[in-house]
């Protein structure tokens, strides 16, 4: 049982405009791609991927988008948060050369996956896509692993102008990869899945979460696959059979909403 633990924040850093990382003591092994439920007492409890993995400490990296993430951003070292998890299934890292494609805050959870891959002796090529230069983060951290890094910005303020999928398409034409791992906006991941055809593919999905222990059904996709339990990382074969992938998510009431 990964029950709720109340933990003191150790370090808070700012990584880019509106992007912050909070580190806390949470011993134990986790897989890149797994997530925690983070309770900000009196505010909300939200799912957050694990972005830094050390034996004793773990971190989460988030963008300020609403009430809970804004409240998280004001917390200081020594403040208390509730942490439960780790939950879900993370990435399976294998093969000779993996192509990672991250969009927006998706880069936060890909960073520890790249680090882990390099540790296992797997070659890594990483495509990072953001809107503009001010939103870029973890590029240095990822380069430091020795991975090959390509950056795209929507407005051309840094790296190649365009989308991460444009770069990925180019790379897929020129090179052979044992698999493609991605986290980012779902329509981007869907496009990437279409590009990958027969290349093994894994994508990390986000759905509105409540229980995160696989009982409430809030996060389900396809034939009752729980993103909090069987996911958040799914393989390409599974995703190909899920109509909602890249098309629909559900809000807190369970109503379908188009991406």
């Amino acid at each position: 049982m990964n029950t709720l633990k109340i933990i003191k924040i150790r370090v808070c850093t700012t990584d880019a405009k509106d992007i912050k990382t909070i580190t806390f003591t949470h011993p134990g092994s986790v897989q890149p791609g797994q997530f925690y439920m983070i309770w900000i007492p009196g505010v909300d409890e939200i799912p957050m991927s694990i972005s830094t993995i050390n034996e004793e400490t773990k971190g989460i990296t988030f963008r300020k988008v609403g009430e809970a993430t804004t409240a998280l951003a004001t917390l200081k070292p020594g403040d208390l948060i509730g942490v439960r998890g780790p939950y879900g299934r993370g990435f399976t890292l294998s093969g000779k050369h993996v192509l990672f494609v991250g969009g927006g805050t998706g880069i936060a959870m890909l960073a520890p996956a790249v680090e882990q891959a390099k540790k296992q002796g797997i070659d890594a090529t990483v495509v990072i896509g953001v809107k503009n230069k001010t939103e870029l983060f973890f590029d240095k951290r990822i380069k430091d692993t020795g991975a090959n890094v390509f950056i795209s910005t929507d407005d051309g303020s840094f790296g190649q102008k365009g989308l991460a999928t444009d770069i990925a398409m180019d790379l897929l034409k020129k090179n052979t990869y044992s698999s493609v791992l991605t986290c980012g906006p779902e329509p981007m991941m869907k496009k990437l899945l279409d590009l990958c055809k027969n290349i093994p593919f894994q994508a990390s999905l986000e759905r509105y979460m409540k229980c995160s222990i696989g009982i409430c059904g809030q996060c389900c996709i396809g034939r009752g696959l729980r993103v909090c339990k069987e996911g958040p990382v799914f393989d390409g074969k599974t995703l190909q059979n899920i109509e909602d992938f890249g098309n629909y998510r559900r809000d807190a009431s369970g109503k379908k909403i188009q991406f």
């Binding site: 409540k210 009982i215 059904g217 009752g224 559900r250 807190a252 009431s253 369970g254």
Partner: protein, 365 residues
Amino acid sequence: MYHHQVRFIITNSFSSPHQPSPAMAVHPPHPSSTKQQPFFHNETQPKENIFITTHPISFFGVPLVNLNTRISNLELSNPTMLASGIMDEDAGSIQRIIDLGAGAIVTKSIGLIPREGYPNPTIVELEYGLLNAMGLPNPGIDHYGKELQQITKSKTPIIGSIYGSNASEFVTLGKKMEEYGVKAIELNLSCPHAKGYGLEIGSDPNLMQEIIKGVKNSVSIPVFVKLSPNVTSITDLAQAAEKAGADAIVAINTVKAMKIDPEIRMPVLANKTGGYSGKAIKPIGVRCVYDIAKNVQIPIIGVGGITTASDTLEYIMAGACAVQIGTAFYSEGLEVFRTICTDLESWMKHHHVKTLTDLIGVAHQ
């Protein structure tokens, strides 16, 4: 030994009908009518019969034991139903639970309009169970109807759970559920944490009767009433429900409870109070079913902490004709429906019980 066994099987296939008798199901046997039925004869059985207890579930396609049960006019292939609010927000999830072997499905409690439920935290894992205050999140009956229509043709009966704040809301919801093809309706008169809904109206016998009568008069499918243990007398409410025309009683919903975190010095649930479910509440549920069974004739569906076949037997012996499973889906995993059924079959074979419904209410000696 072999001859003996074959004879046993043939007798079994002729003497025990595979459908429970309607009379028994509509009116669960009164305690006195089941009293005489022998089922604890393992100690006195001749040794060779033990062979049968380890035999496969069927012999030339003839089941040795029969898990079928019936609630009003609903036929269930086994007594394990999915409880409301568990993995039942969309058609895909319900389909998965059907594939996992549940005998029937109860949908999430659905209201007239979409409702987001309470903010997180909505769930707390505790040592002996779960505490939840989801706050009845649901997409509203019209959106949910689209999900339901994809699965109500399934052989496994789907029961539509509904909640409202007055009789006319329940009537509208009940009619729509029937249109979408559900086989029965469960009235949620027992959610312990939704203001203006559930328990708040379910503890007023007059309002409850008005709701039941209203829905009964507007639909032709059976109407079940789900009750809360958080009342002075659940038996009085069950009797009031029976008088108003309810076709079955579902007991129990969660037990009102709270978790405070000492470090944070405040309740963990955003709603502060919630409903406690899982192993810890099983004895409470068994007692409620037992008391209700003494006082009403309509079928009872037992819910609360059911995790194993042995828990199921307790509820059935207390007077339930079927059970619902919620928290065990999380604590035991996906196979819980199948495991309970397989273990029930083994238990029945070991105790020479051919028909599960023979055990209904036997604890009332």
